[in-house]
């Protein structure tokens, strides 16, 4: 019922453009309405009243990276599972459900090993403590 097949993407493009234009428009309109008298103290980053010490762009805990890593593997797993899940019902109707179920099971079982491994090795724990060998064995070091 549309002129071309691509017309179904008009709302997608239009709504994303509205997202950009709304921010730009509000900032431009606000430019004429709001006061503008910056000073040095006002433009400091907020640190509860103290003078900020150093930059915040320092190195961070590597835990965040490990989480992102496990996520991306499961994200890709989802991307591969979606088309298979969409045709599972049709395969089931023609009597091939068992085979498809088996291949889904194998696929998930292989990936579950990964998460089990990370779980066992403690990569999923947020705060991981480990013993310091020999001399300082009395205290545990926390990251």
């Amino acid at each position: 019922m549309l002129t071309t097949n691509m017309d179904i993407y008009i709302p997608v493009v239009a709504l994303s453009a509205i997202g950009v234009l709304m921010v730009a428009g509000a900032l431009i309109v606000g430019h004429f309405l709001r006061p503008k008298n910056p000073n040095k103290l006002k433009n400091q980053p907020y640190e509860c009243g103290e003078d900020p010490v150093g930059s915040a762009w320092a190195n961070f805990n590597i835990r965040f990276y490990v989480v992102a890593l496990i996520f991306i593997i499961f994200d890709v797993e989802g991307a591969l599972m979606f088309p298979v899940a969409a045709v599972f019902k049709k395969f089931n109707e023609v009597g091939a459900g068992g085979v498809v179920l088996l291949s889904i099971l194998v696929f998930i079982a292989v990936l579950v090993q990964g998460i089990v491994y990370c779980w066992k090795k403690g990569d999923l724990d947020w705060v991981k403590s480990f013993k310091v060998p020999d001399s300082e064995s009395a205290h545990e070091v926390k990251e």
Binding site: M6, I62, Y65, A68, L69, I72, P83, L111
Partner: protein, 184 residues
């Protein structure tokens, strides 16, 4: 009308983003331009009728790879490059390859090779291109059927690949006590 608009918009986003990735020196900004280029690529997939691939591009790249890169840039010092590498003029992007003569010979060879290969491709395209409007079939179902019949081995093996990537990287990037103590 809208289909050509979508094509030109996505092509512009893709190419402009790629150019900015080349020119930008701040890695964080380069990552955002890469995001722009990836979204443009998703738009190109939409114009090609590959809606599932476009959505996959959005899910895997925008949601996954770009965030991973942002994390990595931040963990390795915020992408502030050395002063040594911050080259101001465009000329210095040309890789050094000897004297002027080699540049001349190189460009002549490149032009000859490109025109030759483009000539062949255009002939091929003209002879076999399918005419008519793009058919947007439910590509999801077709891809699903392909994944379960012709490419089932690759489907299963990709899970093994992902498992390998997960375990390998978990081992590599696990915070180890040696480095931690050394820093202390």
């Amino acid at each position: 009308m809208f289909d050509s608009f979508l094509f030109y918009l996505s092509a512009f986003l893709t190419c402009f983003g790629a150019v900015l990735v080349v020119l930008e020196r701040n890695l964080m900004h380069a990552c955002i331009y890469l995001l722009m280029s990836l979204i443009g690529t998703a738009g190109l997939y939409f114009t090609l009728g590959a809606d599932f691939l476009a959505a996959t591009q959005l899910v895997v790249y925008v949601g996954g790879v770009v965030i991973l890169m942002l994390f990595a840039i931040m963990l390795t010092g915020g992408g502030l490059e050395n002063k040594k590498d911050r080259l101001a003029n465009l000329l210095s992007y040309i890789p050094p390859m000897g004297s002027l003569k080699s540049y001349i010979w190189g460009s002549i060879t490149a032009v000859a090779f490109l025109s030759f290969s483009i000539n062949i491709t255009t002939k091929l395209v003209k002879s076999t291109e399918i005419n008519g409007s793009i058919k947007i079939g439910p590509t999801v179902e077709q891809i699903g059927v392909k994944l379960l019949t012709d490419h089932v081995l690759m489907f299963e093996l990709s899970s093994v690949l992902l498992l390998g990537a997960l375990i390998g990287t978990a081992i590599i990037s696990r915070p180890s006590k040696e480095i931690f103590l050394e820093r202390k």
